[in-house]
Symmetry: C2
Subunit: 877 residues, 2 copies
Amino acid sequence: MLFTHPSLLHTHSRHLLRRRHHHHHRRRQPPSPLLHRLLSTLSHPLSHPIYTIWAANTSLGKTLVSAGLAASSLLSSSSPSKLIYIKPLQTGFPRDSDSAFLYSKISHLFLRRSPQSTLLASNHTLNVSIPASKSSKLTTGSGCSVGELEENGGTECGKGGFEGLGFYEEKRVGGGEEVRNELVCKTMYAWKEAISPHLASEREGATVGDSDLLDLLKRCLEIGVGSEGFGGSRVLSLVETAGGVASPGSSGSLQCDLYRPFRLPSILVGDGRLGGISGTISAYESLVIRGYDVVAIVLEDHGLENEVPLSSYLRNRVPVLVLPSIPKDPLDDLMEWFDESQSVFDSLTGIMLSSFQKRIDRLHEMPKKAQEIFWWPFTQHKFVPEEKVTVIDSRCGENFAVHKVKDHDCITQMFDACASWWTQGPDAALQTKLARDMGYTAARFGHVMFPENVYEPALECAELLLEGVGKGWASRVYFSDNGSTAIEIALKMAFRKFLVDNKLLSDLPQDNTIESSIELKVVALRGSYHGDTLGAMDAQAPSPYTGFRQQPWYTGRGVFLDPPMVSMHDGVWKITIPGKMNAEDVILEDTSFSSRGEVFNKSRDDSSLVSIYSSYISQELLQSSGSRKLSHAGALIIEPVIQGAGGMLMVDPLFQRVLVKECRNRKIPVIFDEVLTGFWRLGVESAAELLLCQPDIACFAKLMTGGMIPLAATLATNAVFESFVGDSKLMALLHGHSYSAHALGCAAACNSMKWFKDSKTNPNLIPEQNLLRELWDTQLVEKISFHPAVQRTISLGTLFAVELAVEDNDAGYASLCATSLLTKLREDGIYMRPLGNVIYMMCGPCTSPDVCLRMLEMLYTRLDEFKHDKIQKTSKI
Amino acid sequence: MLFTHPSLLHTHSRHLLRRRHHHHHRRRQPPSPLLHRLLSTLSHPLSHPIYTIWAANTSLGKTLVSAGLAASSLLSSSSPSKLIYIKPLQTGFPRDSDSAFLYSKISHLFLRRSPQSTLLASNHTLNVSIPASKSSKLTTGSGCSVGELEENGGTECGKGGFEGLGFYEEKRVGGGEEVRNELVCKTMYAWKEAISPHLASEREGATVGDSDLLDLLKRCLEIGVGSEGFGGSRVLSLVETAGGVASPGSSGSLQCDLYRPFRLPSILVGDGRLGGISGTISAYESLVIRGYDVVAIVLEDHGLENEVPLSSYLRNRVPVLVLPSIPKDPLDDLMEWFDESQSVFDSLTGIMLSSFQKRIDRLHEMPKKAQEIFWWPFTQHKFVPEEKVTVIDSRCGENFAVHKVKDHDCITQMFDACASWWTQGPDAALQTKLARDMGYTAARFGHVMFPENVYEPALECAELLLEGVGKGWASRVYFSDNGSTAIEIALKMAFRKFLVDNKLLSDLPQDNTIESSIELKVVALRGSYHGDTLGAMDAQAPSPYTGFRQQPWYTGRGVFLDPPMVSMHDGVWKITIPGKMNAEDVILEDTSFSSRGEVFNKSRDDSSLVSIYSSYISQELLQSSGSRKLSHAGALIIEPVIQGAGGMLMVDPLFQRVLVKECRNRKIPVIFDEVLTGFWRLGVESAAELLLCQPDIACFAKLMTGGMIPLAATLATNAVFESFVGDSKLMALLHGHSYSAHALGCAAACNSMKWFKDSKTNPNLIPEQNLLRELWDTQLVEKISFHPAVQRTISLGTLFAVELAVEDNDAGYASLCATSLLTKLREDGIYMRPLGNVIYMMCGPCTSPDVCLRMLEMLYTRLDEFKHDKIQKTSKI
């Protein structure tokens, strides 16, 4: 029976089904399927188990395994059940059609085993290349019905090189009254030649882009939703890949990369032949290092007991099942083989179902367990009820995959707009690359002792740091674990340099008589933040983080200056000069700018602000050292341009430039805390470039490792280093952590530093200018700055921030005012975290401006509602 | 020509060639080839390039590639050259013999291409299974000559299931006068059946253990040494594996794991057939995640352009070469194919040579570059000349592979006896497992935001911590990056708990009026060390690490007690009671012990020391709080049992137990710093078990991640946690680092926690007692404690330490007295670092006691020389 009027995708409204056909076909380019994906809607249901069937090679019987599982599901169980079989890519069509094979074999098996019951079976091929279509028509003469096909994810005639053939067949099998079992077979894309999909696509002029393919697959995965409620029927979906795990798909992307956003649990069909142990293990490992969970391996028996070494390799954690030999006779209808294999497939089905159930149970218990045993940093546990805990199942590039339960369990994607505490930057392609390199580096080095030693990742990392963020000034790299330790090290460096330069040290290393009366202070800006360990805390002005309850040992050991701030409001960039400065003589044009570029312009060195800044700084430094004779300002520490934890405050770069100059004049070593700002966070490799001046010491961390693992580096000039060279070990810098310069961190850093600054991998890079293109739509940012709910906005590099206009007593770090706004944005798929009444979105250096635009649009919409809510609330009072 | 008197391994003296035949054959067990390897002597030369030829599957033409490379090396170059071909495992013998194939084909090619020159070619099969031997004899009738065979790595007749057939053939090819080119072919082990080596081994009763195989391979790799000097001849060695990359070897270990200690650079023979892209990529990835460097991929053309997607996947960084189709006709002598392929093999040879040269150049420049740009922690750079810098090429389990230049460049292995700052523990099998898991976790998660979220590795890690080291007392886990941050967090926790318990906080979170006059101190032991950040430093007594030059902000904020120490000297464990204690009433039997076990015995609670300890502690606590009214001891912090950085000092566990009790009585929260001692370091999972008491807070790091990457955890009781729960965010613990609970660290921790405590993976574990067996030979330790050069010894769990007897002014951290001793031990293959005049050896929880014994023996020998040197030096003065 052949129908031309399928309607199995009825749950979807038409507008969801519009598809983009302007994908860029990038054959022979590095495959980066998800590089520029718009805010992903790649959710998939967990209402029933969905498995991918992979194989170690072609022709290992993937389709027989699918069929066996289908038989087990539909025929072995007494309860009603539904099996959805999806073949995304089919070559050799129509002669080869795995979905047609299933459709036919299962029907036969059904009649053979359960003739009293009834099975509704269908087979549908949605998109067929024109050559394949032609030879199909020759065979079947079927036509093309545009409207309905479109609705089903099929293409209208000829579009994109595909035809929606309307290749649909359906039948009722068996003699029962009531349909209790259902088989749905779908081929998504089919080509004529029996070669790899990427070759067939090229030769037949019909390539499907990765996004389109995933969108259609997403819709196919939703077919089972709702069915499970109906009559208690059991649903199982299978997605059968083409060829081996790393065989290219239509666009050339490897299938294991292509399907990664769904990260479906997997069955691997192994190889029972000579050499098959190796191929099976390697295929397994390719899946594993892409983050897939392989639930079982199944292979055909070839008398070689390949399952024995496989089980041993897998330490019995992944079951290995063995299928009877498959008859080689093409005339064999395989019915006996299926009968013989039934118990194996029943076991396999059992494993799949129980693994699925285990996963669901775990996902459900996770929030509660987390609440019970985690002690989250910076979190008042009292404010986090179980239902507010987010279960992150995985990450793919910039997106989290999050478990949610609405009508049913599902996995949905959210853009990680807090960049997981400003660490993130990799796109999906870099993540895959880093994963392989983490495996390599762990296997090659693990961690090895650093002092007095050298090994490749540490050396290359140091070289790249000095050629990159340290270019032109730094000559030494000191590794540590995080921003906080990098700062503690920087302070120790700066103080020593200051003491040596100012001849404040006695000649004997162990004689502390002079030194004990010296009090060293750090020059720092109010609102700055340099970390949570005591030394880093002491270098910052009192703040919510430094209270007595937090750290009774805190004593701000600083000369804390009030910096002038810059932000955009009502479309204008403006400088706010602190009250303490004598700003009477300022020329008004020097404090407001029509574009951000002007704020950073070198010509501002002629501004009337220079002398105002300069005299304020001089006065403060004088006061601090005047108060006590042996009190010295021994270091300057600043976050260049953006003070992050302080609330994404943008400091006037001119002020920081003047400050650096004033400190240099006084032989005070200059530290730049670039933990947040380094590595393209602000659109340039190092934020020092924006200040147009260089430090003596600078600290880097966060994005340095491509958002993988902790690693920090404190860079210093040779002059700083020299102040630690001497004839005693006690002169050396005696600070270190167990994992100093650990190989994995260094390797990740090497990779990401290179990735971000290479225009072949980072499409946002403007190589000739060595900066990122504008990521946040200038017009929309301006529009937001006019919004009545908005106090100020900042957009710079990967950062966009908004300070919400609130009543004074609701400002600051402890403010909860942004909560309702952010809750709604999370529903939109944007995961943000507030800094009190400041909210921000942070993307990666490679994120497409299209994605940023979409996020800004969503924010704008939600800001309107937020303002509305607030007005309503206020009017009620 | 057939000779029975080979003598190609003449560089080796007979005693080197004695081989161990008592290997344990562990088929169907987790393969752990290197778990119990004695101090490895697996060095290999870098005097000439040595490559491994791997393949993505069987029958892809590995041997043709070897032959083509041999032809290119021996025939294309005008300079004299030598090609060494090694086939470690050959099945199907004698019908299949890849070395015989090379021997024959290259001879033919030589005659065809360079009849005027001369080639000396030989082929030697060293060990043959008895069935294979029988069928060989049928074919060739060759005999067995025991003596010479043994010398050549061949087995005498019948031993271990192998026969050393004396299967040696040699010929001179070509008409030249002088032998300018040489081909050496070796088959190390051969079996009759043409199946996988592990099956053939089993069926033919001839299995070679991994150690034996590697030892023989090592000697084969040395064949080329010295030749390169002779007439400027170029040498190239090829090691051709059997089957695919992950095909099992004779013992069942996967070949990619088996050969890993050499980590030879690799050529991968890919698959040009349908499905071959996937198989090639997966095989490549299996090599990569074991730390191999794949220099090129070469595959046969099957008209599918598999090289295109492969190059794209590899981003053109690894060249992919394509060979012409191989004639399928078995009668084809392949001469034409070799001619056609010549240019490809010439290119491949060129790539291999230049990659080798690049590696050598890099290894040579690394020490200098490191010296120029690194700033090593805890290192006086002035003391580290270029020649003292160690180049670590890789790690395999407990061993470093180090580049050395003596007579020639080589890679030698050294036992990492400093456990790379006490972090290391994994054996080679765990390292492989972790590498795969690092890849998986990086691909699945990268890093994701922790607060208010939950994801599997973090949750499982917290669960395992609470079930393991936190069992019985802890209920919350706070993650951070290293020991230092874990301590800072612990102090913040303890102080808050103390303030709440003692009602020292005002009700308003932001009102600090009462608090500002409170001075909180920490109770700590002299000689303890808790990290390098300021808060951790302030919790320790003045030491070389805390001087003004190091951190001008340091102020010891502690009540610092003098602890009684325990150590073994002259065979007796003794307690040294500090002078400050009133020890008049002590019973002498209470201070010395015949075994270490007695020191930890619970019955010591009845010792006369209890009241001495107790009154000393009371007195010190009273004095400190009495001095100023608002001064409080707000926390106790101790390193249980072993004070590491202080010099591997063993504190009397009874004293620590009494101290904990005294603090508890005063409501002072108790912190255990288990950064060094946790996770089996001292033979038990947590050192608290040795103290027989539990803390309120404990810090863990180092070994927690299996020595992979930084991660720390501060565990706390629920009561501690509750003191941070309140109605304001400002009540929460506002401390965190960007990578809090990063997924890779948590995943590594889950793996290693489970690995170490499972007797299936850790052969040292005594499950019923939940402790490790004695790793350091008790008798030899005792003997060392009698040595005149030794002041004291400590052996406990994975730690063995010796304090060298020195003059007083040469003791302490800055002492260089151990340098000469350690330099010699490094020559022996033991990599140690001193703590002043204290030296120590640290192994992993899974390290074989045999390895520890060998190290102790070497130490003992070197101690004798050391004492001798010292006496000589003294007598000269």
